[in-house]
């Protein structure tokens, strides 16, 4: 691989890592809220969260491009706060990725929280454990595998992103030029050798990551039903 490809790899990993962290931070409370929610608006929020699964990435990218432009409020606010333009920046592709990969993190977590139920949390509360305490001592250990699944899927899906980034990030080396864009460049330039190299590395790393997730969800685990169901849900939605 050449220097520009290494740079694209680093940008990709940075984008995916940051996106995954942000997704876990906002996805966990969102998934919790959805799992406990009984209002009829639940389906509306669920649909919004799931939208990126079915929406062409270019549609999402198009609307984000408009929103991020200096003529519109989100772009203006960003510019006032940071002094930088939002569109075609690293921040833009991270925000885009967060929206695009949201269901891959929220859905497995929501499913895990629903299956965990209230009974153990009630028991913990009656032993004197407050909400934060309960989350870290009961919820997190019992849904650990779902968190790993959610993080891995969020990360992998972000690495594989193309359409949204092309729309809102463009192709700025070291800023928004990620592996999938670099691959597209090589193909456009008929540099099939480098395209092959990038493709095979992306393919292998995705394969290894997914195999690791499924290994983690092997039925020997004690809360295997929860895990298998999580994997199925996510898998089904990915294929959709």
């Amino acid at each position: 691989m050449m220097n520009s490809d290494w740079q694209a790899l680093i940008t990709t990993l940075e984008m995916a890592a940051l996106t995954t962290i942000i997704l876990l931070i906002i996805g966990t409370p969102l998934a919790w809220y959805l799992a406990k929610m009984t209002s009829r608006f639940k389906v509306v929020i669920e649909a919004v969260v799931a939208l990126p699964l079915v929406l062409p990435p270019t549609v999402l990218g198009f609307y984000l491009l408009i929103a991020f432009s200096p003529e519109h409020l989100p772009g203006q606010l960003w510019q006032q706060a940071t002094g930088q333009q939002l569109a075609f920046s690293f921040s833009a592709i991270v925000i885009g990725s967060v929206l695009y990969s949201l269901p891959f993190v929220v859905q497995p977590l929501q499913k895990a929280f629903e299956q965990l139920g209230d009974s153990l949390l009630e028991a913990a509360a009656l032993l004197g454990a407050g909400p934060i305490d309960r989350f870290f001592t009961i919820v997190l250990p019992l849904t650990k595998a779902s968190f790993i699944t959610a993080a891995s899927l969020g990360f992998a899906h972000t690495v594989g992103e193309f359409g949204v980034i092309l729309m809102i990030g463009g192709n700025i080396p070291g800023e928004t030029r990620v592996l999938s864009i670099a691959l597209f460049d090589h193909v456009e330039a008929f540099d099939y050798a480098r395209a092959h190299l990038l493709s095979i590395s992306l393919l292998m790393s995705s394969m290894v990551l997914l195999a690791a997730i499924y290994w983690l969800n092997l039925p020997k685990r004690k809360n295997r039903n929860a895990l298998v169901n999580n994997a199925n849900v996510t898998e089904g939605k990915t294929n959709a």
């Binding site: 009974s119 153990l120 009630e122 028991a123 913990a124 509360a125 009656l126 032993l127 004197g128 454990a129 407050g130 305490d133 001592t137 009961i138 250990p141 019992l142 004690k222 809360n223």
Partner: protein, 369 residues
Amino acid sequence: MPNSPTDVFSQLIIKIAVNYPQFDLAIDHAIPLQGITGVFGHSASGKSTLLRAIAGLEKNLSGEISLANKSLTNTKQGVYLKPEQRQVGLVFQNSRLFDHLTVLGNLEYAVKRCKQSKLSLNNVIELTELTTLLAHKPDELSGGQQQRVALARAILAEPKLLLLDEPLSALDQHSKTQLLNMMLNIQKQLNLPMLYVSHSLDELQQVCDNLLVMAKGKVVNFGNIHQVIHQLNNDDDDAIIHQQTSLSLPIKEFDNGHGLTALALNAQQDIFLSCEPSFAQQSQLRCFILASDISITLTEPMNSSIVNHLFGTIKEITQQKNKVLLIVHCGSQDFFVSISAFSQQKLSLTLNQQVYLQFKASAVRTFIH
């Protein structure tokens, strides 16, 4: 029901309403915080809802609950203490142990969050006989063992009141007996008031001091366990319980030399039952005799294999379909006797008539032993 200002410190006061489309609960009652109080009723009578309300798990309620003069809930004043702030323990029907922790881990979970820590962990482990199970994971334990862990864990949080929601219903007879004995023992040693929900009167009869009876979301009876059971005998509506005489009697002689234990009914009369080794450690015994297990004779049955015969006076005769329920006064104790209407006519029994009751030693039942 005494309810003077001084004893609010020793009472659980409940004035609540819970409303659901299919079910309403309305309770205005004070329960003394001493011994074990049984809560009895059919399923869907509101027993579990009552416990959940006290524990703070029932959100959909209005009214007030106070425990030893500390307000847990007062919807008018906007007070609603969270479950973790109430110092109320709850042992659930399914033990709700934390599977990712060992038995010891489950117990320590309670100890770490307990503010007073007056109890010794080792003491509670011994009381609940968990010493050999500490390193196990909950899913390696039997149902009875899991409930013992749940009981120990609830106690270690050092609650001011322990609620037990059908803790024995999924257990076999041996485990039930073991756990009931543990509950009695713990109640005495730690002086921890308990509210014990069950649909099994046999269990409640063995351990409770008071009994609260619920039906359709309301309290329909409350008082001394034996008295309340005797009052339930008179409920015509096809028997919420098996009609019975509920007794708590001193052990006069552990073994009469023929394998029978003698209980002193009064100065003149004894009741005999089959001797069990566990009676040896006790001075008092809880037992019950089903009304259908007692028969009536007009003369003293001297030539019978039946060991128990008591002399008494008929106080009440109640027709119940093709049966007749008699209340017979023997010394200071009422006995409930159910005979067929046919037998009542044959013997032409009348009020204030003097009769003999007879029942076998095996008709004197204890649940625990």
